[in-house]
Symmetry: C2
Subunit: 233 residues, 2 copies
DNA sequence: GCAAAAGTGTTAACTTTACACCCATGT
DNA sequence: ACATGGGTGTAAAGTTAACACTTTTGC
């Protein structure tokens, strides 16, 4: 590793935050990637990320990155893991705290709010190219995490529209976990859990029988959880 | 927050590692704490920790802290969470990457290998005092993590001696999870899992019928896991 | 021989799995 | 009227939970 004075000063003991922003669309999980405009790995795809500002908490930094790209606030955002191998950044020691966000991909249009937003795009997780730095590692860690968590926490709802059909929900599980699920058993189970409420509305503009729309009653879920209930798909 | 030039230089963009070292002894989970000899929070109990060296990976740093206190290498060591609130350190911005270690408390004597080791002591997790910095937060996060993980990964074995009785194992689960477990059902389940092997030895020096000793066959477990087996207590 | 913990089986309750047809709607 | 996905029940298999007595050993 080559370190001249400038780099030393610029990069020594530096922290960044990278955010694995995930959405579910057309039956597939997708990750929001940018094309790097800066010098290292220029032109290559990478996770959206930034240095941490001196006056901002880690969570706020991750939320800021999400907001600058998508305009979304108050999304599901969690710390994932911290990557700090000595050689992970070619210009010096940069430790990065990785986060992941689960967002409703339908709820917004990608509107540029920062210089890098022009080059952002959704990439199917099954088709992720070679990324800058150790970002493939980070994405893989995020996928492993959410695949595990999907089974015992109701995080799938953060990826669906507020109102969704039971089939959409089932397809989300089948697609992310890569398993087939029996429709009748799935419906019975999820309905008896008692945290889905029918909106009283139906799908529009489908060329077949319209499905009921449901939404996830988060308050109800939290009540149940406090009473010792464990979500388990 | 007061920052003179020296502090600025010393603490700006600084990262540290703290290690929640856990052991199981006399039927209780314990955490290894030190008494601070340095200026902030002097005399108060804290987690063992250190600044990260420029040439060491995060994992190695955590392993080093463990080694300096206990002489142990190759223990169960995992990254826990990164704490970086702007005000968590009174002298400036210090982001800390927290790890936890699970060790066999019987396997060693606390031998001082570093300046802070003289003051290290095991504290029952039910009796943790007010700690320096945000270290209570960190310990609580570690406890929550291992209580969750204990149910679906075989991490309990890392806290027991290599050879243990089924009752010791049961008591570990009962104590850490704070639940009663039916002895017969527990034994049936864990034996059918087929990764415990009887050593052919028995307890020594007990004033009652001696129990068989078992050990955890890690290779066998990993085989089973690859075949799709899920540990679940 | 008695105190103390080790070790062991059966049944009922519950949960999970497998499986196929009629229904509503748009074209 | 037909194509498309929506919606529903039952029985068998498997899993979990509840429960009490005999065995071994040291003192």
């Amino acid at each position: 590793m080559q370190k001249d004075g400038r780099m030393q000063q610029q990069y020594h003991n530096t922290f960044s935050i990278d955010n694995v922003i995930l959405g579910f669309d057309s039956g597939e999980l997708k990750v929001l990637l940018i094309e790097r405009a800066e010098e290292t790995f220029i032109g290559q795809m990478a996770l959206p990320g930034n240095l941490v500002r001196e006056d901002e908490n880690l969570d706020s930094g991750a939320a800021r990155i999400l907001f600058e790209l998508t305009g979304l606030e108050e999304s599901h955002l969690e710390q994932l893991y911290t990557f700090g191998d000595v050689n992970r950044h070619p210009l010096g020691r940069v430790i990065t705290v990785a986060y992941y966000s689960l967002i409703r991909i339908q709820d917004f249009n990608l509107i540029p709010r920062s210089s890098f937003a022009r080059k952002a795009s959704w990439v199917k997780v099954s088709e992720i190219p070679s990324l800058a730095f150790d970002h493939n590692l980070i994405v893989n860690k995020a996928l492993k995490r959410i695949r595990g968590k999907l089974r015992y926490k109701p995080i799938g709802f953060d990826l669906l529209p507020e109102k969704f059909t039971l089939r959409q929900l089932q397809e989300l599980y089948e697609s992310i976990l890569q398993i087939p699920i029996d429709t009748r058993n799935f419906r019975k189970k999820i309905i008896t859990y008692d945290f889905l409420v029918a909106c009283g509305e139906k799908q529009q503009q489908v060329s077949h029988r319209a499905a009921k729309l449901y939404h996830f009653d988060k308050k109800r879920y939290q009540e149940l959880e406090q009473q010792g209930f464990n979500f388990d798909l």
